[in-house]
Amino acid sequence: MSTETKIPRPAFDSSACASCPAHNAGNLLKLGVDMSDWDYVVALGGNPNTGKSTVFNALTGLRQHTGNWPGKTVTRAEGGYSYKGDRYKIVDLPGTYSLLSTSLDEEVARDFILFGQPDVTVIVVDATRLERNLNLALQVLEITERAVICLNLMDEARRYHLEVDDRRLARDLGVPVVPCVARTGEGLPELLEAIHDVATGETVCKPYRLKNESPVIRHALDALVPKIKEAFPDLPNAQWVALRLLDGDQRIIEALNKGELGDLTVQSPLEAEPAASIYLDLEVTT
């Protein structure tokens, strides 16, 4: 475990353990990520076939084969890099269209972002299919406050004469948006910088949260969210937990009963019971 003095955590993360560099090491270890040699952990999410693996390779210098088809990455790949003296562990999650857990790969990605609490979640987004890709991005932003959008495939967007206003998008989403062409390396220095800024707290995100304007859901949320906030004042994603409870998500109900949700705010990973399902789903085969 790293003992060097760390730059203080961002202000929005106010829990006592958050300033400790190893604050989430216990949960990450349960998820199969050994954090003893790393300062920050970065999760890489996104829709299938948006070039996630290419971004992963570009950042880590690894040469995993990238294929032009959805579902290329089935296992969770891990790698690392160093930037400005900090060591980053990067975890490539399976590509999914949603995090509403209808399949194994969605659950793997969801559980990692929720329970692993990566320091930064990079969401790789296909600039030519922004609308569909934002569906996932919005769901990720419901769960975590520390995110960077990698607006990939800008070369294809240019080929189709699409103009994507990344500043507008960044303002609307409340997180850094970096236009990239991962294949050629364009935009990667900016991406590294953005990840660094969010990880160290130099950039504080104010992520877009779903408005859920349909009256029935709004009403239900207004009744449920305050109760969750009362029980878990430091939980960064009360609305998302409420939505999952309303959807009858067994995994979240179980987490609530076992007190795992509490872990996500007041870190006591060693006392928490290991979540068996996470072990099972995240076993990495080499």
């Binding site: 004469h161 507008r168 609307d172 779903l210």
Partner: protein, 477 residues
């Protein structure tokens, strides 16, 4: 009860009550909200081009390659083209590597061993056994792989493979299997162990098992060289010279297509017997065509696939070379162990249109299909006693494909043997790595055993039938 458990219970209770209120359409409603908000945000950020481009190249290509009429012919033509380039292009570099590794380095090693006074059994084991087997594998396998894998990877990067899945999806559905099985099958054309891992994209355990068991019928890396070599020697040679490459390529394509057909037939049978159930639906996104980065693709596919497979072949070929040399040189009352095994298996081998040598080779080659052909050649030399100067179990110098064929023919190879060898190479048990992967993925010894024995039994049945029909209608073979 502590304060927090009270609060938790309250939250769950409230959620339960509200769930009644929001009703069963909640999930859809939520998705609709997310879509609406995503669409709003995207609209604000994206400016579309003034006018729609009149000609959409991607869509035009898609219409052609996924069309009902042209889809399959284009698919077969493209793969045939890939094999034709491989077969025609591999000859020359193969010859050069062969001349260096076996024509020059091998005699040099032998001389050196003599000079330093190495005992005959040690130099036999090391040079005649391990070195020669490895050299053979490298010279025969490296050139076709170095051509085939980059070509295949280029097709993959261009975005053609999902179109193949799209074409095959309907057939898989009719066979009672998951449409995504076409993706794991495609991976299987590279390596079955990788294909087995790729079945993780299939959620339903029933359909995943079908995909795992039938993945073996996707012709893997280790078996392509066997197919290409035998097709070139025995089938291409039937045609006039200028057509030989094309005919060989078509023969290999036929075997690959047969593998796909078998995948359907076995999936269909399994989904109606051992693995009954409903077909689940899924959506497959056809990615845009992307111009492949040719140089990088060739580079990564060379490292990822060619060198990987070659390394695996070498790792398995060295001990196999030692085993072959040992069973050829350890004699019991004047007859070597290899000959005992071959003689024992020969009647059964001949019955199914193969021979004892091929069966022994397949036993030796359980760890890796890559070494089947080298093993067959070494054992043939042993049994026929041609090229007696080199001694038992020793690979000898072969200057050309023609001489390879001479050896095989001397060992009793006929056209029937060649065809059945190609069939058996397609339909037999997976290599031990794949079997182990199946065991790891399913966590079940039973399914691993079934996945190994089912294709083996089918292989015996198919070759037996072909042999009987051949002898009935065409003549002794």
């Amino acid at each position: 009860m502590t304060a927090s458990t009270v609060l938790t219970a309250d939250i769950l209770q409230t959620a339960d009550n509200l769930r009644w209120e929001v009703g069963p359409g909640f999930h859809e409603q939520l998705m609709e909200n997310i879509y609406a908000e995503a669409s709003q945000l995207a609209d604000r950020a994206v400016t579309w081009p003034e006018e729609e481009p009149k000609f959409d190249l991607d869509r035009t290509i898609d219409r052609l390659v996924t069309s009902h009429i042209f889809g399959f012919p284009i698919m077969i033509l493209l793969f045939a083209l890939v094999f034709w380039i491989t077969i025609v292009g591999a000859n020359y570099p193969s010859q050069i590597i062969y001349d260096v590794l076996i024509g020059r380095i091998y005699p040099f090693l032998q001389q050196s061993a003599q000079t330093i006074g190495m005992p005959w059994w040690l130099s036999g084991l090391l040079i005649d056994g391990m070195y020669l087997a490895t050299a053979w594998v490298v010279s025969v396998m490296l050139p076709p792989m170095a051509i085939f894998f980059p070509l295949f990877t280029l097709l993959e990067d261009f975005g053609y493979l999902p179109r193949v899945s799209f074409n095959l999806d309907n057939a898989f559905r009719k066979a009672g299997a998951h449409g995504k099985q076409s993706l794991s099958m495609m991976m299987g054309f590279g390596c079955n162990a990788a294909g087995i891992i790729a079945t993780r994209v299939i959620d339903s355990p029933r359909e995943r098992l079908i995909a795992i068991i039938t993945n073996n019928f996707a012709l893997c890396n280790g078996r392509w060289p066997t197919q290409i070599l035998i097709a070139t020697l025995f089938i291409g040679s039937l045609a006039p010279f200028y057509l030989a490459g094309l005919i060989s390529a078509l023969a290999v394509v036929s075997i690959a297509v047969l593998g796909v057909l078998l995948t359907f037939v076995v999936s269909w049978s399994l989904s109606r017997t051992m693995l009954k159930g409903e077909v689940s639906t899924f959506s497959l996104e056809l990615p845009p065509y992307r111009p492949p980065q040719v140089l990088r693709t060739i580079g990564t596919s060379f490292v990822d696939r060619t060198l990987y497979v070659l390394w695996r072949a070498v790792v398995f070929a060295m001990p196999a070379g030692a085993v072959i040399w040992l069973i050829s040189n350890i004699t019991i009352s004047g007859t070597s162990i290899a000959e005992y095994m071959i003689n024992f298996l020969n009647p059964f081998g001949v019955l199914i249109g193969l021979n004892g040598i091929i069966l022994v080779a397949y036993i030796v080659a359980i760890p890796a299909n890559e070494i089947v052909i080298p093993t067959i050649l070494m054992l043939t030399v042993l049994v026929t006693g041609i090229n007696a100067g080199s001694g038992a179990g020793v690979m000898f110098e072969m200057n050309s494909l023609a001489e390879t064929k001479t050896v095989l023919v001397a060992g009793g190879f006929t056209l029937l043997t060649a065809i059945n060898l190609m069939l058996f190479s397609l339909i037999h048990n997976p290599c031990s790595t794949t079997i182990y992967t199946i065991y790891k993925e399913t966590g079940s010894k039973r399914w691993a055993t079934i996945s190994a024995l089912l294709p083996l039994a089918m292989g015996f049945i198919v070759t037996f039938m072909v042999a009987q029909l051949w002898r009935l209608f065409i003549g002794p073979g």
